[in-house]
């Protein structure tokens, strides 16, 4: 009885977890191997990149701009009583570049483009479109998955940079026009602690997050089972797994990139 319960609630879930992780890794390895094998479907890469950019830009702007504003208010709440108001923009820019821009952009991309990819590929699987491509001697991973990988790998850092500027703009507006911070002090403070290494680190993070969205969303969609319900489950799983993975991975990436500084 007890052994049965342990098997059902501990052993099986742990086994299933590692089984799924193994499958995702194998899928990613297959896709990355095929990335270097011609043909590369340029039209699909452009279509997917355009799709990611157009569907994600508004959600990214709409989430990052208020976060920039909030960050400015909270930073001033701490720094103003200490008389170091001029450090506010330095603090905001570092947090924005290193953490919030890549993380928030990736979360919105996972929610918008990732779910869309999982649902689209899942529907194609259910309707035998993926099998049809295979039968027509066109490798579906090359034709469907690789363009999505490349699109996310390219668009995630681009959207992160846009998110950074939008977030900083929000912060600037609140600090200067609402809280009365000196414009010159704000702009000078931006460059006090920020280094190119931070920008590079943020872009590296967003590339990794882009790949995570690509691998998980495409895997979940590509191997859908169970018809329409399966497609819904795949889209839901994709976004949950992506965001959880970002948050865990973000700690390790931050540790590697900045903890010793």
């Amino acid at each position: 009885m007890v052994l049965g319960m342990i098997d059902k609630y501990v052993v099986q879930p742990v086994y299933n977890f590692f089984d799924e992780v193994g499958r995702i890794v194998l899928f990613a390895m297959e896709a990355i191997t095929l990335l270097f094998r011609p043909p590369l479907f340029w039209r699909e890469i452009l279509t997917e990149s355009h799709h990611v950019a157009t569907t994600c830009i508004i959600p990214v702007v709409c989430t990052v701009a208020p976060i920039g504003c909030i960050l400015a208010i909270q930073a001033l709440n701490i720094l103003r009583p200490l008389g170091v108001e001029k450090l506010m923009s330095s603090m905001v820019v570092i947090i924005m570049v290193r953490e919030l821009s890549p993380a928030m952009t990736s979360i919105m991309i996972a929610a918008q483009a990732g779910t869309s990819m999982a649902a689209e590929l899942g529907t194609m699987r259910v309707k035998e479109e993926i099998e049809a491509q295979d039968v027509m001697a066109v490798n579906p991973i090359q034709y469907l998955v690789i363009p999505r990988f490349i699109a996310l790998f390219i668009m995630c850092p681009i959207l992160t940079v846009i998110a950074f500027f939008v977030g900083m703009a929000g912060s600037y507006v609140i600090s200067v026009y609402v809280e009365g911070v000196n414009k010159g002090a704000f702009l000078t403070g931006l460059w006090t602690y920020l280094e190119m290494y931070d920008v590079g680190g943020a872009i590296f993070k967003s590339c990794v997050f882009g790949l995570v969205v690509a691998v998980i969303s495409c895997y979940k969609g590509f191997y859908v089972t169970g018809g329409a319900a399966g497609v819904g489950r795949a889209a839901n799983d994709a976004v949950v797994i992506c965001i959880t993975t970002f948050l865990i991975l973000n700690y390790f990436l931050t540790s590697i990139l900045w903890i010793t500084m």
């Binding site: 529907t123 194609m124 309707k127 035998e128 479109e129 099998e131 049809a132 039968v135 027509m136 001697a137």
Partner: protein
């Protein structure tokens, strides 16, 4: 190596697909059991049987989408289960499969669907591709539908576009997975007549998976009857039709009385 050899031309009546002791299980469920048959070039071979007897699984083995647990399957001289991806894709360029539900790409229009294999596997110019697409659409009775979205088409039209796409590369073997399932009797007849017409006009090898008995008698040269994963009978149309086997009599007579159990 077989894969680097050219695909030779097969004479009518020569075995083009050879199946030996083919078995396949999914978990504990044995779907195909020791299948043996020779499918001849230039003929129409129909595999009949009740739903869930492994007909679609069998066709998926022929195109290499599934690998058997045991047995051999040779298509145009290639042992399909042993082929690597490149060799399998070379073989598939000689096979055209019309899927049960069409399997058309929703995001593309009829032209893009039908031209898909042409733009990927030939060096044809746009003008030549356009002309070939128009030609195969004409063959399946859907001329001038190039710009329609697949979602604007009826089920029967979608099946015919799927068939046009399967024919686009001028394959040696054309496979149909239940071409008349879900269609009304008039459309069923239209599709059966279309297959007959294509056979007459193109002289290709057709392999059809079906449970439409009347349609089978009209179009088949060879008939195979699958039941619970076993090939009950395989032979010439007239011979199978006249067979005294109690299972076949029940199936052809469309009656519940007999040993055959619906799945």
């Amino acid at each position: 190596m077989a894969s680097k050899e050219e695909f030779r031309k097969y004479e009518t009546g020569e075995p083009i697909v050879t199946v030996r002791n083919l078995s396949k299980s999914f978990g504990s469920l044995r779907v195909l059991k020791d299948l043996n048959c020779d499918i001849k070039a230039g003929e129409t071979t129909v595999f009949l049987g009740p739903s869930g007897t492994g007909k679609s699984v069998f066709i998926k083995h022929i195109v290499g989408l599934l690998k058997p647990d045991e047995g051999e399957l040779e298509v145009m001289g290639r042992n399909v289960p042993t082929l690597g991806e490149r060799e399998l894709y070379e073989l598939r360029k000689h096979l055209g499969l019309a899927f049960q539900l069409g399997a058309l790409f929703d995001s593309l229009n009829v032209y893009d669907n039908v031209s898909f294999p042409l733009s990927h596997h030939t060096r044809m110019r746009q003008k030549e591709i356009k002309s070939r697409v128009a030609e195969v659409l004409e063959l399946v009775g859907l001329p001038g539908t190039e710009n329609k979205l697949t979602t604007e088409l009826s089920t029967g039209q979608q099946k015919r576009v799927g068939l046009a796409r399967a024919l686009a590369l001028n394959p040696t073997i054309v496979l149909f997975d239940e071409p008349t399932t879900g269609l009304d009797p008039i459309l069923c007849t239209t599709i059966d007549e279309l297959i007959l017409k294509l056979k007459t006009e193109l002289g290709k090898t057709f392999i059809v998976i079906s449970h439409d008995i009347e349609g089978t008698w009209n179009m088949a040269d060879q008939v195979g009857v699958l039941y619970q994963g076993t090939l009950l009978r395989y032979g010439r149309n007239a011979d199978v039709r006249r067979d005294d086997n109690i299972f076949l009599k029940q199936f052809f007579g469309r009656t519940e009385d007999g040993p055959m159990i619906g799945v």
